[in-house]
Point group: C2
């Protein structure tokens, strides 16, 4: 039997369950900032820098629906509100992904440096 010219097609992409939730520019960042413990609405807003309240609310709502985060309303006083967002067990399931992303980011920066050095040496 002769080896096939083309390799067998790869298995179906099993990333859907993840990508369905984490796609978009903001969600990964939101989840990343929640890794360090519960954070309030305003905290996240500051963490993320340039996000509009509309988007932040929307993303937090869908993350809630997916049960990746829980929203807890803390009643501090009659006139003041505090709302805290925290990762659920499901949210925690993505921890290793973010760790890997961080590592990959670092690796890329490393490759950038190596390359810059080579470019400098050859001139």
């Amino acid at each position: 039997m002769i080896a096939p010219v083309r390799p067998a097609p790869p298995p179906d992409c099993p990333l859907e369950r993840y990508l369905h939730i984490v796609s978009g520019a903001w969600v990964p960042r939101i989840l990343w900032y929640l890794r360090f413990g519960p954070r309030r609405f305003g905290d996240l807003r500051r963490d993320l820098g340039s996000i509009s309240t509309k988007i932040l609310t929307a993303k937090l709502r869908t993350l809630e629906e997916e049960r990746m985060v829980v929203r807890t309303e803390l009643l501090v006083s009659e006139r003041q509100r505090q709302v805290e967002y925290a990762l659920t067990e499901r949210g925690l399931a993505f921890e290793p992904v973010f760790e890997a992303m961080e590592q990959a980011s670092r690796r890329l920066t490393e490759l950038d440096l190596l390359e810059a050095r080579e470019a400098g040496a050859e001139s």
Copy 2:
């Protein structure tokens, strides 16, 4: 000195180098399918199922610019063209991320099952 009411803010999000490249619905999937070795344009199109040629081309171009993939034109005959896309060393840097995503996806499915079982048991 009294302990601060609010914990210190988390460090700056170090995911940018990654997110800059991999955001969007298609890029993660493209990279995932390239993990198993070089693939041709048409292969990827079939792998991805519903992608339009326009988007596939566009994504492959930017991945090329970022040097995550290399494009190799194989001249088979005068009239036939074959183009192969493969991960570069940079592209390989994202492998652990995809592995973590797969694991996370599995974990989520597991949690779904556990929950469904509990819901069944309590009725």
